[in-house]
C-alpha cells in the first residue's frame, strides 16, 4: 500500500465519517462544521485526482461561500443555537433503509463494470491543464454556451435570492 493509497483511505474515512456526523448531528452548527470538513476532504480528493484547480475552487466556493452561508442561515434561523431538537422526521427509518440500499445498489452495479479497477493513465507533467480548462470553457467549439448559461443562471440566482429574502413591508 503506497503512501497515496494511505492518504486516500485516510481522507475518505474522514469524509464519510464527517458526512455521517453531519447527517446525524442534531446541532446544526456542528453539522455545518462537519460539512466543511467533508468538503475539504473532497477538495483533497480532487488534489489526488490531479485537479488542483478544482480543489482550490472547491475550497473557495464550498467552504468560503456555501458553508459560511449555511452557518449564517443556521444562526439566523435558530432562536437558540444550543437548542436541542428532534432532528429526524418520522420516516427516517425508510429513508435510512432506502439510501443504504441505494448506495449498496450503486456499488454492486459499479462492481459489475469490467474496467472498474482501471488505473489512472499517466498525466503529462508539462501539460497546463488549467489553461486547457480555461480555453475549453470559453472556446466556441468547447463549452462556451454552457459557460454563458451558467453565468446567466448565477445572475438569476443572485436576483432571485435578493427578491425572495428581502423582507416585505407586512413582515415587519
Amino acid at each position: 500500500m503506497t503512501a497515496q493509497q494511505g492518504v486516500f483511505l485516510f481522507i475518505s474515512f474522514v469524509i464519510l465519517f464527517s458526512a455521517y456526523t453531519m447527517v446525524t448531528r442534531s446541532n446544526l452548527v456542528h453539522a455545518a462544521l462537519f460539512l466543511v470538513v467533508t468538503l475539504f476532504g473532497v477538495a483533497v480528493i480532487f488534489v489526488l485526482l490531479d485537479a488542483g484547480f478544482l480543489a482550490v475552487v472547491q475550497v473557495l466556493v464550498y467552504i468560503g461561500a456555501i458553508a459560511i452561508l449555511m452557518i449564517f442561515a443556521v444562526m439566523l434561523t435558530q432562536d437558540n443555537a444550543a437548542k436541542q431538537q428532534e432532528s429526524m422526521n418520522l420516516n427516517y427509518g425508510w429513508a435510512l433503509l432506502l439510501s443504504a440500499l441505494f448506495a449498496f445498489a450503486l456499488i454492486v452495479m459499479l462492481g459489475q463494470w469490467p474496467d472498474i479497477g482501471g488505473l489512472a493513465p499517466a498525466l503529462d507533467p508539462r501539460r497546463d491543464t488549467i489553461a486547457e480548462l480555461g480555453s475549453a470553457l470559453v472556446s466556441p467549439d468547447g463549452y462556451v454556451i454552457p459557460f454563458e448559461v451558467a453565468s446567466v443562471l448565477l445572475l438569476a440566482a443572485l436576483i432571485g435570492a435578493l427578491v425572495v429574502a428581502r423582507p416585505q413591508k407586512k413582515d415587519k
Binding site: 420516516n91 429513508a95 432506502l98 439510501s99 441505494f102 445498489a105 450503486l106 452495479m109 459489475q112
Partner: protein, 724 residues
C-alpha cells in the same frame, strides 16, 4: 461647385426654412421672417447664379444643364429624378426667384411686423388693430411665423417644379403648391368665407390634377419615361405617339395625353371652366394672392404646357392647321381671355378685378400656345408675372393703407357697417395719400393694359397678337384684341377709382403710405414691369427694332428642337394693339373720372351688368349642377340606399346566418360532444384525484422518498438483469 450642384440646391433653402420655422423659431417673429427671407434670398442668389451661367452658354437648348440620380428601381429600369435648366426653365427661374423674394419682403410689412399685439386678435382672423396710447394702430398678424413657414414651403414647391427634369417631380412640386394654396387661402381659417374658398380652390384644382395624373400615367405607360428631354427631344417618339391611336376614337395618343395634361393646366391656371376658384382665393392675405396668381401657381400651369409643348403640338408643324389639342387650347384660352375680362369690368373688389384679369391674361398665354406662338406665350408669361405681382402687391399696399384709414376712423372696434377696405368704391384720391403705391400701381396697370412702347405688357401682347394675325388665326386675333381693349378699360377703371378723383370715404381720406418693406419691393418690381419687355422687341420694329436684338426670342426659342422663326412683321396687329390699349385707357378714364359710390356703367348696361357682376352665375351654376346633386346623391343614394340598405342589410344577413350556424353548432355539437367529453374527462380526473390525494401530504421529503424509491426500482431492475 458646378452649376448642376447649384441647381440641385435651389429648392432646398425654403424647405429648410419651413421646417426651421415650424419646429424652432415659431415663437420669435423676427427670427422667423429672417429665416424665411434668408431662405428666399439664398434661393434667389442661387437662381441668379444659375441664370447667369445659363445665358452664358451657347445653344443652351441643345445641351442644357442637367443632372439626375437614380431614385426608384422600377422592375427592369431605374426611375431617375433630376434637375434641368434649359432656356425656358432659366427664364422661369429668373422671374420666379425675383417675385418670390419680393413677395417675402413685402409680407413682412404687410403683416405689420413690429406692431403691438392686438387686444381682440385671435389666430385665424385678420388682425383687428391695437390701441396704442389713445389712437389705434395696426396690430401684428397673430400667426405671423406660420405665414412665413407656409410661403416658404410654397416657394419650395415652385422651385422644385421649375428645376425638375421630369413630369413626376414637377407634379410633386405642383401638388405641394396645391396644398400650400389651400393652407394659405384658408390662412384666416376663422372666416367661413376663407374656409369655403380654400376648399373650393383645393377641390377645383384637384379635378384638374387628377386628369393630369392620368395624363402622366398614360405618358409613362406609352413611353416608359417621364424625362422631358427623353420624350420631347426625340422626334420619332413624338411622331410615333402622334400616329398611335388612343382609346378615344379619332384622337392620337399624343393628343389624348396632351389633353389630359392640359386639363391639369386648366385647373391650375384657372382657365374656363375651372376658373371659379381663383377669384375666391382673394380671401387669403394679399402676398398670398400675388404668390398664387402672379409668381407661382398659375404660372406653373402655363409653364407646364410650355414645357410639354412639343408633345402637345406633336404632328403639327409651323403654318399647318392646328391639331386637336392646340385647337382646344386656342379656343379655351381665347374664350377665357375675353370671358374673364368682361367679368373684370364690373367687380368692386380691387383684388377680384386683378384676379379676373389674371385669368384673362393666362387665357392669352394659353391661346398663344394654342396657335403655336411658343415664344410669345413664354414672353407674356414672364412679363405678366412681373407686372401682375407688382399690381397685386401694390393693391395689397392700397388695402393696407385703407385698413390703416379704416382703423383710424373706426378706432379698431368694428361697430355697425364696416367699411370694406378692398372695395374700390370706398377709395379714390389715394394718389396724394400714397404716392409710391400710386406710381407703381400705375406702371403695373399700364403694363397690364399694354401701354405702347414703354411697358413690358405691350411687347408681349403685341407679339401674341402679331403671331395670331400672322398665322391667320383671325378668330383668335379678334377675340384677343377685344379682350385687350377690355383689359385696358378695366385697368384704367381701377386706377381711376382707386387713386384719382376725390376720396369717397373718411377711411380713404385717412389712408397713409406704407412702410419701406412694402414699398421697396413695389419699386423693384415696377422696374421689371417696364424693362422686362425690352428683351423681346421684334426686329423690323420701326425705330426700336434695331436697338435691342430680340434676345428673348433667340434664347427661349432655342428650347424647341426646330427653332420657331419669328413671325413676319406686320403693321396691322401693331396698330391694333396700340389702338386698343390707348382706347381702353381713355374710355376707362372717361367713364370713371367722376364716379360716385354707384358704378356709372350699371344703368347703361342694365341686365348685362348684373350678369357680369355675378360672374355669369358660374358659381351658382356649378353649385346647382355639381355640388347640390352631389350632396343629394350622397344623402339619398349613398347613405340611405347603399349604406343603409345594401351594406348594412348584407351585414345583418351575414350576422343572422352566422348566429344561426353558431346556435346549431352549440346545441347539436358543442354541448353534447365537446362538453360531454370534457365533463367526462374532468369527472374521471376528479375521481382519480380523490384517490391520489391521500398521497399528497405536503411533506417534501415524503415525495422525495417516492422519487428515490422509483430510482432505486430502476437500479434494482438493472441489477436483476445483470445479476442473473
Amino acid at each position: 461647385m458646378t452649376t448642376e450642384t447649384l441647381i440641385w440646391l435651389i429648392p432646398l433653402p425654403p424647405l429648410l426654412a419651413f421646417f426651421l420655422i415650424l419646429l424652432f423659431t415659431r415663437r420669435n417673429h423676427a427670427l422667423s421672417h429672417t429665416v424665411g427671407v434668408g431662405a428666399a434670398l439664398l434661393s434667389w442668389l442661387l437662381g441668379m447664379l444659375v441664370f447667369v451661367a445659363a445665358i452664358g452658354v451657347e445653344h443652351l437648348g441643345e445641351h442644357p444643364f442637367t443632372s439626375s440620380v437614380g431614385w426608384l428601381p422600377l422592375g427592369s429600369d431605374i426611375f431617375s429624378v433630376g434637375v434641368l435648366i434649359d432656356p425656358l426653365s432659366a427664364v422661369t427661374l429668373f422671374f420666379v426667384a425675383w417675385t418670390v423674394l419680393m413677395i417675402f419682403i413685402f409680407s413682412i410689412g404687410y403683416h405689420n411686423f413690429g406692431q403691438p399685439k392686438g387686444e381682440h386678435d385671435v389666430p385665424g382672423l385678420p388682425p383687428h388693430g391695437a390701441t396704442e396710447h389713445g389712437h389705434s394702430v395696426p396690430s401684428v398678424e397673430p400667426m405671423y411665423s406660420r405665414f412665413f413657414a407656409f410661403i416658404a414651403l410654397f416657394a419650395f414647391g415652385m422651385f422644385t417644379l421649375v428645376v425638375s427634369d421630369n413630369l413626376l417631380t414637377l407634379f410633386v412640386g405642383w401638388e405641394i403648391m396645391g396644398l400650400c394654396s389651400y393652407l394659405l387661402i384658408g390662412f384666416w381659417y376663422a372666416k367661413p368665407s376663407a374656409r369655403a374658398a380654400a376648399i373650393k380652390a383645393f377641390i377645383t384644382t384637384r379635378i384638374g390634377d387628377v386628369f393630369m395624373l392620368l395624363g402622366i400615367v398614360a405618358l409613362y405607360a406609352a413611353t416608359g419615361t417621364l424625362n422631358f428631354r427623353e420624350i420631347l427631344y426625340n422626334p420619332e417618339l413624338l411622331e410615333q405617339l402622334a400616329s398611335a391611336p388612343s382609346v378615344i376614337a379619332g384622337l392620337s395618343l399624343a393628343g389624348l395625353i396632351g389633353l389630359l395634361l392640359f386639363i391639369g393646366t386648366v385647373g391650375k391656371s384657372a382657365q374656363w371652366p375651372l376658373h371659379v376658384w381663383l377669384p375666391d382665393a382673394m380671401e387669403g392675405p394679399t402676398p398670398v394672392s400675388a404668390m398664387i396668381h402672379a409668381a407661382t401657381m398659375v404660372s406653373a400651369g402655363v409653364y407646364m404646357v410650355l414645357r410639354m409643348f412639343p408633345l402637345l403640338s406633336a404632328g403639327w408643324e409651323h403654318g399647318a392647321p392646328l391639331n386637336t389639342t392646340m385647337t382646344v387650347m386656342a379656343f379655351i384660352g381665347a374664350f377665357t381671355a375675353l370671358f374673364a375680362a368682361t367679368i373684370a369690368l364690373t367687380q368692386k373688389d380691387i383684388k377680384r378685378v386683378l384676379a379676373y384679369s389674371t385669368i384673362s391674361q393666362l387665357g392669352y398665354m394659353i391661346a398663344a400656345l394654342g396657335i403655336g406662338a411658343y415664344v410669345a406665350a413664354a414672353f407674356h408669361l414672364v412679363t405678366h408675372a412681373f407686372f401682375k405681382a407688382l399690381l397685386f402687391l401694390s393693391s395689397g399696399s392700397v388695402i393696407h393703407g385703407m385698413e390703416h384709414g379704416v382703423l383710424h376712423t373706426e378706432g379698431g372696434q368694428h361697430s355697425g357697417e364696416h367699411i370694406d377696405p378692398q372695395d374700390m368704391f370706398n377709395m379714390g384720391g389715394l394718389k396724394n395719400k400714397m404716392p409710391i403705391t400710386f406710381w407703381t400701381f400705375l406702371i403695373g396697370g399700364l403694363a397690364l393694359s399694354g401701354f405702347p412702347l414703354i411697358t413690358a405688357g405691350f411687347w408681349s401682347k403685341d407679339e401674341i397678337l402679331a403671331d395670331a394675325f400672322g398665322n391667320g388665326h383671325l378668330l383668335v386675333f379678334i377675340t384677343l384684341a377685344v379682350a385687350a381693349l377690355l383689359t385696358a378699360f378695366y385697368t384704367m377703371r381701377q386706377i381711376t377709382l382707386t387713386f384719382l378723383g376725390k376720396p369717397r370715404t373718411k377711411a380713404a381720406e385717412h389712408a397713409s403710405e406704407n412702410v419701406r418693406t412694402m414699398t421697396v419691393p413695389l419699386m423693384v418690381l415696377s422696374v421689371f414691369a417696364i424693362a422686362a419687355g425690352w428683351v423681346g422687341i421684334p426686329e423690323h420694329f420701326p425705330g426700336l427694332g434695331g436697338l435691342l436684338p430680340s434676345w428673348f426670342h433667340e434664347f427661349v426659342g432655342g428650347t424647341l428642337l426646330e427653332h420657331p422663326e419669328a413671325v413676319t412683321f406686320d403693321t396691322v396687329p401693331l396698330l391694333v394693339s396700340i389702338v386698343v390699349a390707348l382706347a381702353g385707357l381713355a374710355l376707362g378714364w372717361l367713364a370713371y373720372r367722376n364716379a360716385k359710390q354707384e358704378d356709372p356703367l350699371r344703368k347703361p348696361l342694365g341686365r348685362a351688368y348684373t350678369l357680369l357682376e355675378s360672374k355669369y352665375y358660374f358659381d351658382e351654376l356649378y353649385d346647382a349642377v355639381f355640388v347640390r346633386p352631389a350632396k343629394r346623391f350622397a344623402e339619398g343614394f349613398s347613405y340611405m340606399f347603399l349604406d343603409r340598405q345594401v351594406i348594412d342589410g348584407a351585414l345583418h344577413r351575414v350576422a343572422q346566418a352566422a348566429f344561426l350556424l353558431g346556435s346549431i353548432f352549440r346545441n347539436y355539437f358543442d354541448t353534447p360532444v365537446v362538453n360531454g367529453f370534457g365533463d367526462f374527462t374532468a369527472s374521471v380526473t376528479q375521481s382519480f384525484g380523490r384517490l391520489l390525494r391521500k398521497v399528497q401530504t405536503g411533506q417534501v421529503q415524503q415525495y422525495l422518498l417516492f422519487v428515490a424509491l422509483l430510482a432505486f426500482g430502476g437500479l434494482f431492475y438493472y441489477l436483476l438483469n445483470v445479476l442473473q
